[in-house]
Amino acid sequence: MSEELASERAMIDEVVGDQPASWDIAGEIPIGLLRKLGADGVLCAQVPAAFGGLGRSSLHNGELTAHVGSRCSSLRSIMTSQGMAAWTVQRFGDRDQRRQYLTELTSGQLAAIAFSEPSAGSDLSAMRTEIGTDGDSVVLDGKKMWVTGARYADQLVVLGKHGDGASFLVVPTSAPGVLVETVADPLGCRAAGHAHIRFDNVRLPASCLLGGGGQGMQLLFTTALCYGRFSVAWGCVGIVRACLAAATEHARHRRQAGKPLADHQLIAGHLAELLVAEQVSTRVCEHASRCWDSASPDMVIAAVLAKHVSAGHAARSGSIAVQVLASAGAQDGHAVARAYRDAKLMEIIEGSNEICQLILAQHAMTIPPDRS
């Protein structure tokens, strides 16, 4: 492990401490803590140093994301949102926008990115949110759902239809006409600040359109989501690691019929499964990040594969860990109880299991026989 990574992990552990259990129960992370981590640059660690970021590689940021994910998936979700918003600005923003927004996002401002709508998830053609042009202004109308981190956000990066194409619009949550409504009692990542948002005739300067707007909906969506898939995939590695740590710890100390649980063969089977899950999901994420860091075109599919594999392992690992800990882990707030609930959501967001399978199947059909 590099010195930088070790010190970032130590800093996060010090700030986070043993609070994730209480955050889960309260459904909230103190916003001051999020701003501090944002100002330290760790919420979007791949932002280049030229914009005030840490300039970390995907592999480095991935390990950092896994570490946060092993402590608290709600906090890791905030990291995913901030990172996606920053990546989207970096990719689509013009020179001035990159400078302004990326500096803000590494100085303690918080951002969320809004895609899903009441009747549009992966089906982009059903998207209704609309950006209209009116002279030097743009006007935003629509509804977005389940926007991770929106409750804490200063800025929202909103995807909407715009003319013949689509645009990302950067919307301050304080703008008139923006209504943020926190989702009550989500199944998992309970402190991640999910919210539904209504935009009612929100008028902003056209300079808030990333890169002038009017790009293709698919390309905007796929590009932004690609970062999110990396982040969720690595976050799932963290969930699996937390499950492995909790299960082995419990199996070492808890005795049944005169010997530690680990010496009971059925429990040992569970522990082996957790180790396999940790290794497999780590390797598939490392591969994806190496693709990103070497700018390989394979990174797009590698991200989908990593997300799909890791989310599946995280969901199974959460279930296994609760099984091993039994009553010791069967209470809200406990690391394995959180893993169990949080991981299930990971099979849904940033491309559900089924959407990932569709993409992977489509890819499989393009592989020449001698490469498969």
Partner: protein, 96 residues
């Protein structure tokens, strides 16, 4: 291959030829330089992003902001002129 290409001037013919062979390898079909890749169903938006990454890596360019539109990736011709334009821009203005 990349370093050689960045060292010497790049011609439209060379970019076009390299793109045609990249596409032939990836989508297993011979494509025409002016064929609409999206309309013909050969290429998805997922693959469009792979093309972005490929061109950036291969020609040492950054495709960002307003240039990230599907129209720039619709045909081999369109991608070729994008590459040449961005290469020229970075030669004269620096590339941030």
């Amino acid at each position: 291959m990349t370093s050689e290409q960045t060292m010497t001037a790049i011609t439209a013919e060379a970019v076009e030829e390299a793109l045609l062979s990249f596409l032939a390898e990836r989508v297993k079909t011979a494509v025409e330089p002016d064929q609409d890749l999206f309309k013909s169903g050969l290429v998805s938006s997922m693959f469009a992003m792979q093309l972005v990454v490929h061109l950036e890596e291969q020609y040492d360019i950054a495709v960002i902001g307003p240039d990230l539109t599907l129209n720039n990736f619709r045909t081999v011709h369109a991608m070729t002129s994008l590459v040449l334009r961005l290469r020229n821009a970075s030669d004269t203005a620096g590339n941030v």
